[in-house]
Amino acid sequence: MPDTVPGAVTDLRGSAVREDDETVAIQVEGLVKRFGDTVAVDDVSFAVLQGEIAAFLGPNGSGKTTLVRLVNGVLRPTDGTISVLDTDPTERPIPVQRRTGVVTESLSLYDRFSGRYNLSFYGRLYGVPDEDLSARIETLADLLDFRSYLDDRVETYSTGMKKRLLLARGLLHDPDVLFLDEPTSGLDPQAARLVVNHIETIRRERDVTVFLCTHDLQVAERLASRIFFLDDGAIVAAGTPAELRENLWPEATVVVALDGWSERLRGEIEGLPWVQDVGTADADVPGTTTLRFELDDRDAIPKLVDALVEDGIRLYRLQEDRHSLEDVYFQVREALR
């Protein structure tokens, strides 16, 4: 088993979000994939719950795309087991692929055909009934905002439109699991937002399980309930965004806008055992003093509030200064060096 990052949560089984009535959509155990001497996926184990958005983050070549191809039955593993919706995609890829949709990283579209033909072709492969196909194509084109280009050749589409067409293709047959490999790469902010909003909507409304591979940390932060960090084909850290933050940075930092602050009070607060440091911060509430309190952990936040209020301080604003997923990502990368 490859090393994980010290201090990072390794919630590989979804225990943090699993409740008794929740079911596992994807279960992977000891998965290994070698191409000759190169190990692309190295003893990976995890579970993704039904209706969950699980994000797989990692640099180029970390094994994200290979993982998607393995889990969807396109590649055969060298070792290990995979179960998708209680079916082994290695032995029975067709039943799995019938219930999964894929947005590939490469723009795997027929450029010389129209968007409508591309969707109609895949609709037939996925067994969408003829009588429903046209209506589904138009509904998805409406939702993803490319209806007016549906009959244009795909070679005239922008990258953003091609990505949306790929997403429509992945959703055409109403899948239970959606594999998204870099769904927002190459998109302008507006197009990326549209795609992200749509992913969020389908997950919420249709309880689709989403297996998201991305470089885009903001997208992962917004969408994912759990994050898996991949490096050299292995999962090196995993957990909910909050768990990852807490484990990497157990201390808490709060920025407080207050009135009634004094040097005497500073001495008193700094003397409390769970306060590490008190410093000034940029004022964002006019007429107040804004201070940054570094505390041992998050449990110290309510204690700080009590102490300040007992000393007659009026609080106008209190905000935890949280590390972003980007901070988590770079901390994990740093720890691997």
Binding site: R69, V74, I94, Q97, V102, T104, S108, Y110, Y122, L125
Partner: protein, 273 residues
């Protein structure tokens, strides 16, 4: 088997060929050459220019090596008429096979190698389509147009030859049993052979052009038949056509067996390793 998926794949591939000028030009030019230009040249040139007597000498030599039944067919014909008759009814037969072979080669080259080259193969492999369905869809896309091109070519060739020779011979030279057998028995066998070899090459080639070039070797058996015929070793009688067709169908069965052994999704996706 998912018949709709097979048809979707075949229709898509044929449509892709129709939209590609690079593929369509040889598909139009070569049949015109074989169906119109070649018979017209053989029939009309002796009327327009003086043919060297050595040419007729060559025809006589060839005739001597031919079966008695063929010699009987041309008894009473002039040297010029014999040359035209032998060319349009016998010699052009194997050359005509180039049409379905070329069509199946061009379409099948674009099958897997083309999908990989255009990065569309991953979408296809991610879809719920079995290896057999994928293979049959791709094969149909090459087989049906090849056979249809040959049938259409045969009709065109018959019309052109009869129009050009009726005045000279006073009867319709085509269709005859030999050509009907050629089109109905040998053409499908040869088409399947061409596409089988090309699809197998296409699975492992890096791109469409490489696949087409390597698979171009499928034309060698046809060249061999032409040479054997010119050398007087082999003539396309009905028995020979039945035998060669049978041999090609055996090759076809072997190709299906080899193809199913070599069909690996991983290589289709990632290319030859």
């Amino acid at each position: 088997m998912n018949r709709d998926a097979i048809l979707a794949i075949a229709e898509k591939d044929v449509r892709a060929v129709r939209q590609s000028r690079q593929m369509m030009i040889p598909l139009v030019v070569v049949p015109i050459l074989f169906v119109v230009v070649l018979p017209a040249a053989v029939v009309l040139l002796p009327r327009l220019v003086e043919v060297p007597t050595s040419t007729y000498g060559f025809t006589d030599q060839m005739l001597e090596t031919m079966p008695a039944s063929i010699r009987a067919e041309v008894s009473g014909y002039s040297a010029a008429e014999t040359m035209v008759y032998l060319a349009v009814t016998y010699l052009f037969g194997p050359l005509f096979l180039v049409i379905p072979l070329m069509v199946s080669n061009i379409v099948a080259s674009a099958s897997f190698a083309g999908e990989r080259e255009r990065h569309t193969i991953e979408g296809l492999l991610s879809a719920p389509v079995s290896n057999v369905e994928l293979f049959v869809g791709k094969a149909l896309a090459a087989f049906v147009p090849a056979v249809l091109a040959a049938l259409g070519g045969f009709v065109g060739y018959t019309v052109v030859v009869d129009l050009l020779t009726y005045g000279q011979f006073g009867r319709l030279l085509l269709p005859n049993l030999l050509w009907i057998l050629l089109v109905c028995w040998l053409v499908p066998a040869v088409s399947f052979f061409g596409l089988g070899v090309t699809v197998i090459v296409s699975m492992r080639a890096r791109g469409y052009e490489e696949a087409q070039q390597i698979a171009g070797v499928v034309v060698l058996p046809i060249v061999a038949i032409v040479l054997l015929q010119v050398a007087g070793v082999l003539f396309l009688s009905t028995t020979v056509i039945l035998a060669i067709g049978g041999l090609f169908w055996l090759f076809d069965v072997a190709l299906v067996w080899v193809g199913s052994r070599l069909f690996r999704r991983e290589e289709l996706l990632l290319g030859p390793t």
